[in-house]
């Protein structure tokens, strides 16, 4: 089934120069395996096509059940020269949580309703 990430994961984003970075965290190991498979650099780049100019890197961290995602060229050159309301990219994580992926309905958070 198609599932928005917010139903199965949590996330926080921040900034470093022109780079927005997101930590995406599965609530459980089963979901983490799905995230690792589905949340690819290509999918993320497409989701943020209007935001980020540069490449996308994804680092899986099995010990934290997390993906570290880095979007290059995402902050108009950096927070202090950005024209945007969200100059610090704090809401990039919220935008990611709206991305939909294919996930089995049996994942713990989904099965629990």
């Amino acid at each position: 089934m198609r599932v928005p990430l917010w139903r199965i994961a949590h996330a926080r984003s921040g900034d470093k120069a022109d780079r927005a970075d997101i930590g995406l965290f599965a609530y459980d190991a089963e979901t983490y395996a799905v995230l690792k498979r589905e949340v690819t650099p290509e999918r993320i780049a497409a989701h943020f096509a209007a935001l980020a100019r540069g490449p996308v890197a994804v680092y899986p961290l099995d010990n934290l059940l997390a993906l570290k995602i880095v979007l290059e060229g995402a902050l108009q050159g950096g927070a202090a020269r950005s024209l945007r309301m969200d100059n610090l990219g704090k809401n990039v994580a919220a935008a990611l949580l709206r991305m939909e992926i294919d996930a089995p309905a049996t994942l713990p958070r989904l099965a629990a309703g």
Binding site: W6, R7, H10, A11, R12, S13, G14, D15, K16, A17, D18, R19, D21, G23, F25, Y27, H47, F48, A49, A50, L51, A57, Y59, L61, D62, N63, L64, L65, A66, K68, V70, G77, G78, A79, A80, R81, L83, R84, M85, D86, K90, N91, A93, A94, A95, L97, R98
Partner: protein
């Protein structure tokens, strides 16, 4: 085994120290590590210093310590703060005056030598091109517009200051996590080549450097944030670290917030790029081997950090003037709130052209619809909004054009679409700052680092 307890202070210039009181009163902390400097805070402090050579440090330092010292002094709690900004000596003078006025005594150390703004030619002559770390661009393009340039110093001078008996250590641009690593090395007697222990210390510093973000604040989630108890009385994180490097994270009893696997791992990855090579002046951390054991009751054990030898070069961050931003904002209510904002945006854009304002870039946002989510906003209810604000910003090299842009908006109130409101004056032009991260050999920086200790 010997252990030491460190509590988080501020997480940025302007953060609250109210939660630090609980850490002092009932958190059993021996140190407070307080981070006042974000990447470009020094640009703000540079403007202060231009107006007054005695300024240039974080202004929250004095009121914070005046409030907290009566709680800290009888308990022997020490402070490490990067509130010195561009002027650690000035910060000490201001703090000394405030303490003297109250009859308080303390040994206050300063760490200086991070400010390299006047040494850039010397660094280049010594073989450092100071090219942009990410783009490789030549610094010559921004050289004349630089406002500040500071190297990120590590924990060694902080540990030295503590070894000399300092109660309060004021640094300039120290790496955020060094504010905690310094006390750990000093108290636990680690050597500067015990990479795994230093990596544990760096992890502790990184988890403490954003205050409430490691104890349930800004818990990024769709539903779970509302389950974090009592944000009003959120307790800042506290770490108890033993000599082997193992850390137990918690917060003061009877405070709000939450210290758990979930809240800690959000902070662990915050503003980290490659998690297998998190570079600091003292050690390079691999987060991939860390283990977070949630013991329940707001206690999480953190072990297993992997450390690799420190880098040969130190990071320098410079900031430069990068034009001006003009801002205009106006709100509209139902009916057609969004459409009226869009119509107004088109009018403003036409006026910019008609008035030949030298604008390089225009940014249009709809507050209440897409100003925080941008192109990822969901348009489903866009036409039925109760109300919406148009916010427009422009980039220009001309300060007067930025001011003139803001003045285009008031006219809309009587001659634009109906039911406008929320107009509260014309926004001033805002200076934009570019960031210039670069590297220089530590041998060129560290010999100039000075620790000064003074009893006040």
């Amino acid at each position: 085994m010997k252990s030491v307890r460190i509590g988080a202070g501020l997480g940025f210039y302007g953060d609250s120290w109210r939660p630090v009181r609980a850490s002092l009163e009932r958190g059993g902390v021996q140190y407070i590590a307080s981070d006042h400097l974000a990447e470009l805070t020094l640009a703000i402090l540079q403007k202060d210093r231009q107006k007054d050579p005695a300024a240039g440090y974080a202004r929250d330092l004095v009121p914070m310590l005046v409030d907290l010292w009566p709680l800290a002094a009888p308990r022997g709690v020490k402070f490490v703060l990067n509130a010195g900004g561009l002027n650690p000596l000035g910060a000490r003078a201001a703090l000394a005056a405030a303490f003297a006025a109250r009859g308080w005594k303390a040994r206050i150390a300063t760490v200086s030598g991070d400010d390299v703004a006047q040494r850039l030619d010397e660094l280049r002559a010594a073989g450092e091109p100071l090219a942009h770390m990410d783009s490789g661009a030549d610094i010559a393009g921004v050289r004349a517009r630089l406002l500040f340039a500071n190297a990120y110093l590590g924990a060694q001078p902080i540990a030295e200051a503590l070894a000399r008996g300092a109660d309060i250590v004021l640094t300039g641009r120290a790496a955020d996590a060094a504010l905690a690593l310094g006390p750990l090395v000093h108290e636990l007697g680690w050597r500067w080549d015990e990479w795994d222990k230093l990596a544990q210390g760096l992890t502790v510093g990184h988890l403490l450097e954003c205050s409430g973000q490691a104890s349930g604040g800004n818990f990024g989630s769709a539903l779970e944030w509302a389950k974090i108890p009592d944000l009003l009385h959120l307790g800042y994180p506290i770490a108890e670290v033993t000599a082997d490097g193992a850390a137990l994270f918690t917060k003061a009893p009877a405070t709000g917030g939450r210290v758990s696997f979930d809240t800690l791992r959000q902070q662990l990855l915050y503003e980290v790029h490659d998690p297998h090579a998190y570079v600091s002046p003292d050690v390079v951390l691999d987060i991939g081997s860390l283990r977070l054991d949630d013991l329940g009751g707001d206690r999480v054990r953190v072990t297993g950090a992997g450390g690799a030898p420190r880098p040969a070069k130190l990071k320098i961050v410079a900031g430069y003037h990068d034009g001006w931003m003009g801002t205009g904002m106006i709100g509209f209510s139902w009916p057609d709130a969004y459409r009226k904002c869009a119509a107004s945006a088109a009018i403003i854009e036409a006026l910019v052209t008609e008035n030949r304002l030298p604008v390089e870039e225009t940014n249009v946002e709809y507050v209440g619809y897409d100003s925080l989510l941008g192109a990822n906003a969901d348009p489903t209810y866009r036409e039925q909004l109760n109300e919406c604000f148009l916010r427009m910003t422009v980039r220009t090299q001309d300060r007067h054009a930025a001011e003139a842009f803001g003045r285009l908006f008031p006219w809309l109130g009587l001659s634009g679409p109906p039911y406008a409101g929320g107009f509260h004056g014309i926004e001033r032009a805002k200076e934009l700052l570019g960031i210039w991260p670069t590297l220089a050999a530590r041998e060129l920086i560290e010999p100039r680092v000075a620790v000064s200790v003074e009893d006040v």
